[in-house]
Symmetry: C2
């Protein structure tokens, strides 16, 4: 077990807190860093000097006048404050995203910006554990080689976003629509090959991380992000951190129930929210209503789903009812989420939010039917336009958070 | 906003951590405190000397030999370690418990032990906000006067456990079976009258606090305690603290749904778990099966419920089915809880657990029906025999935790 020296104890979390503040808020003056972290001006000056000496932080070109509440100027007017910012090249990390038949790789700089990325069409569902690992190693090796000019140092970490259910603690993919096999141990093999920190999380957790680092979206407090798509995922941020639970598999919102003995879910059980709202469920039900070409219904394409949405919008009331009912089921699911956790914000995103406008009225009605007003106070439910890069962005963000912690643990551990 | 001096920053949380360790683990040697808190031996010696000088901690009479894993003795054998313990009289707090027609008051010492208590039969449901507050003030005044010999100082805090739904943030009772009126603001008025910290929480949260401070029950990690009784409550401990959510009303497990459009719940909505499992729901359904005296069915007495249990045990299969079905519904509810949060332990207690043996097989079957094994890994589900003092115990525990924090915030705030 590591033991810390007394003198280092207070510095370590403070340095991590400063980096974290700059990650979330962008370039900031020393005085604002002090206000936000509760550190004294002298301590901020001393700690940021350390961080500058280590090449992690620099004074940025941009300057700003005071950001205080004194809107009409006052004493700070005309006195530009020097802003501190993270040094983009201080480190880099690799983000990987695994979805059905697509593997994406991106290089994130120390500020968390994506420097470059590549997409690889691969029949992921045909890969077993060994082949998946070999494929990832080949792709990451090629990617690092191609972008080796970015940083003198090798990537400090690899963070993998996987569509499906993951155990973030053990680094295992429990099941994923991208893979035919279940229970694939991934991070250990990549860690042995590449060194550094290799971590894995489901894509919804990665998106939650990206949102938690975006002050335009997230206004403090606990929040959940619900991802509609092939399946229904959720990322949960409690007390500032992504919540995985003691067994690494928490936030499986899609497998909470709407109705016992309801329709069959891909997980093998009945009545899960996903079995009503997931793309595969809507396409399955649509087949009972209209004639559709007999293509691979287990994994509907975006084109197939957009076709259903277009028909519903064009006046097919039976199809429109499917989307409305999905909205109602989602409302009931959100009522349960609110009863148990009462988060401050709930974001709804994912490719499945393509039909959110058709779902929303029933969603709100379902929520009102399911829960008394006293228990659904507050949470703001926001539709977040689907940005498929958000998962990669969040994977990179998770990697950098871990990197920050490890850097300073290393310094203070004897 | 308060600002802390640099020198105090690291001491404050460390002192609170030492008190917290002694609260949970009881008398402990300095070396064990150091191991548990990560503080160096020199720091533990210095901080505990401070705590002793303040009269909060003393060296206890009891001594013990090493508690290490070296079972057959070894170097610590025969060298008794001096144990440190909390000074019982260092402070006292008041715990209050409000249930249907019963108000209980207890005095807790600084170690969290109940020194004395009193019970008052009062028609709580006839009280409005003003009358409830006046009643509590009268009872607490009398109680303090009666027990003024215990401590030279007035009680440092008052903590109220309420059956029902509470907003712990605002100190408001949202609704309670003990009260006919809703939305009663309680803590503010009592705070103005008695000073100190007045806080309120539902009884399940208080029981969760009591369990979190009992190492015989709680083995680390996140846990939930489900309270069966008139209604269905839950206390949730995440990352070591009771979780109330951003709006103060989280953990309302009883108002998550089993089935949309199910039976009417006391909250006014349909299909809540409580509408199948709560005492009132079981008695309501029993009335449809057998002839029962026409007593106040809205608030079944313990005798009425025990009568139903006895008839079910004696061979009334229809009645037994009610309890079995309640078990199944509870299993489905727990499946949702596990999907969202995956806690390490789940405790089931409350007066309604009187029929747990009849509910358990269906509960386990319901859980297995609802959730695939990959998503219900781990949580240990434990029936905890109902101890009605646990809520008062937890209320006192919550008050002392807050008192510890406030003492050291006060010292380090300029």
């Amino acid at each position: 077990m590591s033991r810390r020296t007394e003198a280092d104890t207070p510095r370590q979390p403070s340095q991590i807190a400063i980096l974290r503040y700059l990650r979330i808020h962008g370039p900031a003056a020393r005085i604002d860093i002090g206000t936000a972290t509760g550190l004294s001006p002298a301590t901020v000056t001393s700690l940021t000097a350390d961080l500058m000496a280590q090449g992690l932080v620099h004074e940025s070109q941009g300057t700003a006048t005071g950001t205080g509440s004194n809107g009409n100027g006052g004493s700070t007017r005309g006195r530009p404050k020097v802003l501190l910012d993270l040094v983009p090249t201080a480190a880099c990390v690799i983000g990987v995203k695994i979805t059905i038949n697509l593997i994406e790789i991106a290089l994130g700089n120390f500020k968390g910006e994506i420097e470059c990325s590549s997409e690889h069409s691969i029949n992921t569902r045909d890969l077993d554990e060994k082949e998946l690992i070999a494929t990832l190693i080949r792709l990451i090796d090629g990617f690092i080689e191609e972008h080796k000019d970015f940083s003198a140092r090798p990537p400090a970490g690899i963070s993998i976003a996987v569509q499906g259910v993951c155990d973030s603690n053990s680094g295992e993919i429990i099941w994923s629509p991208a893979l035919r096999r279940r229970n694939i141990a991934l991070t250990k093999a990549l860690g042995e090959r590449f060194g550094g920190i290799v971590q894995m999380s489901n894509d919804a957790n990665c998106i939650a991380t990206a949102i938690s680092q975006n002050t335009n979206l997230h206004r403090g407090g606990d929040f959940a992000v619900i991802m509609l798509g092939y399946g229904i995922g959720m990322g949960l941020v409690l007390n500032g951190s992504v919540y995985n639970g003691d067994f690494g598999t928490a936030a499986e919102f899609g497998h909470t129930k709407y109705q016992p003995d309801g329709p069959l879910c891909n997980c093998g059980k009945r009545g899960c929210l996903e079995a009503y709202i997931g793309d595969y469920a809507i396409l399955r039900d649509a087949r009972g209503l209209i004639d559709l070409p007999d293509t691979n219904s287990l994994h509907p394409s975006e084109e197939q789903m957009m076709d259903l949405v277009a028909r519903a919008r064009a006046g097919d009331e039976d199809l429109a009812d499917l989307f409305r009912h999905a909205g109602k089921v989602l409302g009931y699911g959100i009522a349960n989420l609110i009863a148990l956790l009462g988060p401050k914000q709930i974001f709804i995103t994912g490719s499945g939010a393509r039909a959110y406008d058709m779902m929303e009225p029933e969603l709100m009605q379902g929520l009102a039917q399911a829960q008394v007003p006293e228990l659904r106070r507050g949470p703001e439910i926001t539709h977040l336009a689907w940005d498929k890069d958000l998962a990669l962005q969040g994977a990179i963000g998770q990697s950098l958070l871990r990197h920050d912690e490890n850097m300073f643990q290393a310094i203070t551990t004897i």
